[in-house]
Subunit: 237 residues, 2 copies
Amino acid sequence: MPRTLTRKQRERQEREARILELGRTMLSEVGYLGLSMDRIAAEMEYSKGTIYQHFCNKEEIILALANEALEKRLQMFEQAATWPGRPRERMAAIGAAAEEFVEHYPQHFAVEQIVRSASIWEKTSSQRQEFMHSCESRCLHIVSGVVRDGLAQGDLKLPAGRTPEDLVFGLWSLNFGAYTILTSSDSLGDNGISDPVLALRQSQHRMLDGYGWQPLSQELDYMALMDQVKNEVFRDA
Amino acid sequence: MPRTLTRKQRERQEREARILELGRTMLSEVGYLGLSMDRIAAEMEYSKGTIYQHFCNKEEIILALANEALEKRLQMFEQAATWPGRPRERMAAIGAAAEEFVEHYPQHFAVEQIVRSASIWEKTSSQRQEFMHSCESRCLHIVSGVVRDGLAQGDLKLPAGRTPEDLVFGLWSLNFGAYTILTSSDSLGDNGISDPVLALRQSQHRMLDGYGWQPLSQELDYMALMDQVKNEVFRDA
DNA sequence: GTCAAAAATTGACGACGTGTCAATAATTCC
DNA sequence: GGAATTATTGACACGTCGTCAATTTTTGAC
């Protein structure tokens, strides 16, 4: 047989993909609590036992979805980091990728939030945990690489004792926090925050300005650049 | 009767306080999923029905705890905002308050995260929801007030069309995101982020520097100032 | 002090969820 | 064709939520 997978194995994979597909939909529609193995089984027209053959608990499904999300974002970051231009422009491109990710795969972002909050972690296999760590780590590495390029070119200086990763941690926190608040608060407008996504962009760029990262945002229109990146790099998505 | 509350009413209040106390402990020990009305009832040596007299579901308990947390932080922010000094120093004082809050009431912060992620919101009474919004709003107002003071004194300028609230949104996101990541990730150290709390401080100050807010962090040691605020204002806590 | 009305408390119950596993059905391969 | 292997099933034990009729306790009028 020249095939690497038997028919059985392919069917199994397809079914697993269907479970994840359904899981993602359910998760974004009814949340973590609404996601039930019983309902997945009913919807798929398989018995519960069969579903448990694939994922030994709810949380495994969720972490598998989170891993898909992280992989997707990693890929988008890798693409964004190749943007031609000075390091600071590439940072803006990554910012655009982060924005695009949340906008285009809202369920993916929702899964990330869930994994960070509910006590899902303990119930999952170390294999998937390691995969998640690895994605996170590589993602961080891409961004800190751009910071290192900026440092090498003398475009910015870090305070004594601070690493590129510390700077990235700030950007990461800012992004994660902003989108978490954004998706879980319906009263931002009432509090004078009419365009939180724009506010997030500004905050990011002001932060980089604060590190003295050239060219500063007075010299270059990063808002326009980010729109351009979203149009040119991620237009097909 | 000179008393405003009857014995019955006082007993009721005390029991309610005990429920919340127990709820807070359980929540931080076993998480949202581990918190069960059955267990609360057993632990309190009352029947389930009695507990339901106080809170008509799990989520109400959690939101009540969240409200306590928000009230506590509001109080700390109010205190911090009275710090004598220029607006930017008062911002640093508020940053110190935020830090102190998370460190000193970790369960409180954990509750906030839970409310923002799990689908708790829909199941709760509008009364508690409004209280939460009100706390949030007042908290924001304190901080944006300091920004307005800074603007009035000419210490910073905002980009065209941006409100003080947009700036505060950035700081809020940064803080919330950082502490969320911090408490839900055990691999930060492996990724070169050895002191995330310090990284958060830096990020905040760089962001304010980016807005050109005087005095800049090169001119004034905000790290020392924050430590001082924590020692002098929040020493007793 | 007595006792009926009101209020508080109880816990069995139905509905639903998880994860298991002996029984059953389908598939493989000799 | 049929024994061995593998896949699938769904009843089951257990746990949780929120309800509500039944029971106990408290109240206050006499």
